[in-house]
């Protein structure tokens, strides 16, 4: 349960970027959450609500973009969602694929009034 501290970090970042953009009201915050980032989406949404309540960000929406694990084949560059992290490329059969997405936990955008 580290979602409360993650919610606080999201709010801090949103506030900082809103201030850099003329201090406008934040309407929506976009965050990318990788499949193996270890973040529980329901808990994060709950904690975000608690964190912004009765603050300048009260009412801002949190838009979470789920980023599935994606592998890229080293031989043929085909990208695919692996089954249980198996690196075997479904296109060419080589086994040298590596993870290119799925472990991120990043800010994506802000929608400002």
């Amino acid at each position: 349960m580290h979602e409360l501290s993650i919610a606080q970090s999201i709010v801090d970042s949103a506030r900082e970027h809103a201030a850099l953009n003329g201090g406008r009201r934040v309407l929506r915050i976009g965050v990318r959450i990788g499949e193996i980032s270890g973040v529980a989406v329901d808990a994060l949404e709950f904690c975000f609500g608690l964190t912004v309540k009765d603050t300048d960000l009260d009412g801002a929406a949190l838009e979470l973009e789920h980023v599935p694990v994606r592998y890229r084949c080293g031989a043929c560059t085909h990208e695919f969602h692996p089954v249980e992290f198996l690196a075997d490329c479904p296109s060419c059969g080589s086994s040298g694929a590596s993870m290119v997405a799925g472990d991120e936990l990043g800010m994506s955008f802000l929608e400002l009034e």
């Binding site: 349960m1 580290h2 970090s9 936990l105 990043g106 800010m107 955008f109």
Partner: protein, 228 residues
């Protein structure tokens, strides 16, 4: 009129900033920093006790920061080996973050260290997200936990440089498959190194101590493991 502003940065950038500060400070003093992560009860504290006992006769300067939700018990256990050991009591938080480590590190004696061990809060999920300025995360998987953990908790196995297969002496009494555990850990992290350990029986902690020795040599820029 609403405007959309792209923000491309990590959510935990403040943690990452403090971690970078710690990493630079540890680099300046040539200190190897290892962050041990496992489930509760996997054996982190016992491994550290055995490690400190083995390294006590060496000239290495060592300190330990140990995180738990409650109690000073781990620090009390680890202090018996003559090295500074500080407890970080998180009071409920399920992981250590860089600011906790920075505060605790600041209260250590100011002497330069060769090794700083950080024992994280027992948890295979949350600690994986937080950079503490370490050179390497070390994940401890004890054989009594089951060989399915690397695929169930891929985040930590992906970020760890080393996996300790611990309590390996109990292997004959479990259904744990070391081949499956290693193969699965390498699915999520092809570069992960694996060392087998036991605090109570053969093979002991020798391979782990040699791994540390190798990391120390790399940290000091020697490029090859020291003898001894």
């Amino acid at each position: 009129m609403t405007e959309r502003v792209e923000v491309r940065e990590g959510v935990l950038k403040e943690n990452d900033r403090i971690a970078l500060e710690l990493r630079e400070r540890l680099a300046a003093s040539g200190t190897l920093c290892l962050n041990l992560i496992s489930s509760p009860g996997a054996g982190k504290t016992s491994i550290l006790e055995g490690t400190l006992e083995a390294l006590r006769p060496t000239p290495l300067r060592i300190a330990v920061l140990t995180g738990d939700i409650q109690t000073e018990r781990d620090a009390d256990r680890l202090k018996r080996y003559g090295f500074p050991a500080l407890q970080i009591t998180t009071g409920g938080t399920c992981h250590l973050d860089a600011s906790m480590v920075k505060r605790s590190f600041a209260t250590l004696p100011p002497d330069a260290l060769d090794i700083l061990f950080i024992e994280n809060v027992g948890n295979l999920v949350c600690p994986a997200s937080y950079d503490l300025g370490e050179d390497a995360k070390v994940v401890v998987l004890s054989v009594t936990e089951g060989d399915d953990k690397p695929l169930k908790y891929p985040g930590i196995f992906r970020r760890a440089r080393l996996m300790l297969l611990h309590k390996i002496d109990l292997l004959p009494h479990t259904r744990f498959s070391r081949d499956a555990a290693v193969a699965d850990a390498r699915r999520v992290n092809p570069g992960i190194e694996v060392v087998e350990t036991s605090c109570l029986a053969e093979p002991g902690l020798g391979a782990w101590l040699r791994w540390i020795d190798g990391q120390l040599a790399i940290k000091r820029g020697a490029g090859r493991p020291a003898r001894g």
